[in-house]
């Protein structure tokens, strides 16, 4: 009876989760180990139109008896994973052999400098972004929440609304606003130039990365703030009063009463932000198109939309998912232990 009602209550959400989470994930996994290639024939065609007629040598997909384009699909195992991770040295070497560079130094230069691994550099920046924004988001959110708690009630509404704005703005619009502040002739660039500081923000790695990190903190801080602010409303007043009577300083009250009360929320905000930050995408797309700042998610996007290869993009997406899982393991274990150890 108890079990039956439990099932009845949870069935809709389980069904939805299967449909909207598990199924797409399973399909992504399925796509990532497959590939389809069209069957093509070489044709020479004459193209006329708005411009002068042209002879174009092109490849055209063959059609089957029913007039449908012919495609060969098959299982490729972990080939795309190896390629995304840059482990597939044979394919790259063969390609380099088959595509000889300009005579002279080129091939030698290529060997000496090593081939560039896009995935590793994207992973590097993604982790850098995730790990640098997290402490700022937590500390900044907490500071803002504490400050807001001290503001008179009448002003709070307006302040809260104002500080939530960055979180409400669409990420692409927010990133565009940051770009326009810092590009040539941008407000910040111009003001700095007035006082003799000329920085070209997108011209080198440190400043381009800094801009994206600043965007990340600016955008997510309000989320941390509102969660901590809500948590502050539940801090037991009697404990605080008892601490005051015992002669605790403001810092001691914060350290020994308020913060322990907020601890679960700190874990919650960290968890959400780690997941979000690891998927950093919009600021990379808008601000730099990945120059100095490629991210794992942006790489998946280029594989899907620019290289137009859904199979390889699926492999990159699965790798992103694995990355998030690894990042979250310590936090999830902690939450799991707390849930099991907690009352009930």
């Amino acid at each position: 009876m108890k079990r039956a009602s439990f099932l009845r209550f949870s069935a809709p959400s389980i069904a939805l989760m299967l449909l909207l989470l598990a199924l797409p994930m399973a399909m992504t996994l399925w796509l990532s180990v497959r590939t389809c290639t069209p069957e093509l024939e070489l044709v020479t065609v004459e193209v006329t139109g708005p411009f002068a007629p042209q002879q174009v040598i092109t490849q055209r997909q063959t059609l089957d008896a029913a007039g449908r384009p012919v495609e060969r699909c098959g299982f490729v195992g972990l080939e795309y994973y190896r390629k995304v991770l840059g482990l597939d040295r044979t394919a790259a070497r063969e390609a380099a052999d088959a595509a000889p560079a300009a005579k002279g130094t080129a091939a030698a230069a290529g060997d000496a400098e090593g081939t560039h691994n896009e995935f590793l550099s994207a992973l590097g920046f993604t982790l850098f972004y995730t790990l640098t924004t997290t402490p700022f988001v937590l500390a900044g959110g907490l500071a803002l929440a504490l400050a807001m708690n001290g503001v008179s009630r009448r002003l709070r509404g307006a302040f809260i609304a104002a500080s939530l704005l960055p979180f409400i703005i669409t990420p692409v619009v927010g990133a565009l606003a940051i770009k326009w502040l810092f590009r040539d002739n941008g407000l910040v660039s111009s003001l700095l130039a007035e006082v003799g500081v000329q920085i070209f923000w997108m011209a080198q790695a440190w400043s381009a990365r800094l801009l994206i990190v600043v965007y990340g903190i600016w955008h997510v801080l309000p989320f941390a703030f509102i969660v901590f602010y809500a948590g502050l409303q539940g801090v037991p007043q009697d404990s605080l009063e008892a601490a005051t009577l015992d002669g605790a300083s403001r810092w001691q009250k914060l350290r020994y009463v308020t913060l322990p009360h907020l601890a679960p929320l700190v874990v919650f905000v960290t968890l959400i932000h780690l997941m979000d930050a690891y998927r950093v995408f919009e600021p990379v797309l808008v601000l730099t198109k990945g120059a100095f700042t490629g991210s794992v998610q942006y790489l998946t996007y280029t594989l899907l939309l620019e290289e137009n290869n859904p199979y390889k993009a699926s492999a990159a997406a699965v790798l992103t998912l694995l990355g998030i899982a690894v990042l979250l393991v310590p936090l999830l274990r902690r939450t799991w232990r707390e849930q099991r150890g907690g009352p009930g």
Binding site: L40, T48, G49, K83, A101, E118, F200, A203
Partner: protein
């Protein structure tokens, strides 16, 4: 230019009203059912979408999806194993080559023959492949030179017809004109933009992208290295932010009077004279893009945008064609003259509408039509910044791009097997 904005606004405002009062010309056809189109989201398309929606009636639904992801949506829809959710799409030339190579386009030859007179279709609008009409082009674009006529005159500089001349002008302007620290502004942004700069230069230097009659890469040869060196030679005259400068940023630098010259899309020309956004109204003049080396042909490409129908359509081709033709009629051009460089002959080019003619006269080629070109272009966009920042040599970066391109061309079936005899 104010007119452009007003036109776009008017089109937006007019759309719902027009939808209510169906256009009699379209209404008389007694169309029934439903037509779904997909197109890019820019002002000229908003104008055309409003016209397509004039065909709506109680019995006939027309919807136009305007999206920046049009290429992806179109390719997915036209490749679908079932019926395409879109009955027609607005495609650029590059997307057209991909779709044609996939044999996913429906030939419109018969439809054109049947209705040619009613809709005054001009031969130059018809994109024919081996005489079959596969698309109908309605607007054109190219990249051409923008330059500050006032500054060139003040310093006695001639309009550059080659990149070496342009670098020379830049050197002189940087030295003599105090407000212009970075005379050249061009779209060097990582990815599509930078790859397009390379694409413009390579043929002008006598290079080619692929081995003849094959998808094997050839852009990593000597001409490719020369093209990268030329791009690198421009950097000292450009803002250090160049590797993040897209068309918007370049337009802004020109409008704000911070840059004195650059090759940019013709579709941006009208906005140089928009008093709301430009400090240099009337002072920017236009010329063909310079050639990469003296005496060569213009380092630019010609583009068209047009409509195409999928092979896996829903069987309402006649109705779809009527809607498309109503959308692209001569009065569409007359009413939205300033919104684009139209293909129809009743287009009246203003001061800013001369780009395509200039490029044509200077011998700019048509954008590469090979379906595997976009793969090469993509790899170039990803790797070229390394050569410009000096992290690696031009030759090494091009060799890398060629190798990565070859891997993706094998994956997509354009190059057979993993190895060919070199």
């Amino acid at each position: 230019m104010g007119l452009r904005r007003r036109d776009a606004l008017a089109a937006l405002v007019a759309a719902p009203a027009a939808a209510r009062a169906a256009d009699p010309a379209c209404g008389r056809l007694g169309l029934q059912g439903q037509v779904d189109l997909v197109a890019n989201a820019f002002p000229a398309m908003q104008h055309l979408a409003a016209r397509a929606e004039q065909c709506r009636s109680r019995e006939f639904k027309v919807s136009v999806k305007l999206t920046p992801q049009v290429q992806n949506e179109t390719e997915l829809a036209f490749a679908s194993a079932g019926r395409s959710p879109f009955d027609a799409a607005v495609v650029s030339q590059g997307v057209f080559s991909n779709l044609y190579s996939r044999n996913q386009l429906y030939p419109m030859t018969e439809l054109v023959q049947r209705h040619r007179e009613r809709y005054a279709l001009e031969e130059r609008m018809l994109v024919r492949v081996d005489r079959e009409v596969m698309a109908i082009a309605f607007m054109q674009n190219t990249q051409h030179l923008y330059y500050r006529a006032d500054l060139f005159e003040r310093h006695g500089l001639a309009v550059p017809s080659s990149y070496p001349e342009m670098l020379d002008c830049a050197r002189r302007l940087a030295a003599r004109e105090p407000g212009i620290a970075h005379p050249i502004a061009q779209t060097f942004s990582k990815g599509w933009d930078l790859a397009t700069e390379f694409t413009n230069l390579l043929p002008s230097l006598g290079g080619r992208f692929f081995e003849p009659a094959s998808a094997e890469p050839a852009f990593q040869g000597a001409a490719g290295v020369e093209a990268v060196e030329l791009l690198r030679a421009m950097l000292p005259y450009m803002s250090p932010n160049a590797l993040a400068s897209n068309s918007d940023d370049v337009m802004n630098q020109l409008q704000q009077g911070r840059a004195a010259m650059g090759v940019l899309w013709a579709s941006r020309a009208a906005r140089m004279d928009d008093p709301a956004a430009s400090r240099v109204v009337g002072r920017i003049a236009f010329a063909a893009a310079p050639s990469a080396r003296p005496g060569g042909r213009s380092a630019s490409h010609l583009w068209w945008d047009g409509v195409a129908m999928p092979r896996n359509g829903r069987g309402n081709r006649e109705a779809v064609f009527h809607v498309l033709m109503h959308m692209l009629g001569p009065d569409a051009v007359a009413q939205g003259n300033a919104l684009a460089i139209w293909v129809r002959s009743n287009y009246q080019p203003g001061r800013a509408g001369v780009g395509v003619r200039l490029a044509h006269q200077a011998g700019a080629p048509v954008w590469p039509g090979e379906p595997f070109f976009s793969l090469a272009h993509n790899q170039l966009g990803r790797t070229l910044p390394d050569a410009l920042t000096g992290v690696r040599s031009a030759a090494a970066v091009l060799a890398d791009a060629a190798a990565a391109y070859r891997v993706s061309a094998v994956e997509k079936g354009y190059i057979r097997g993993t190895r060919t005899s070199a």
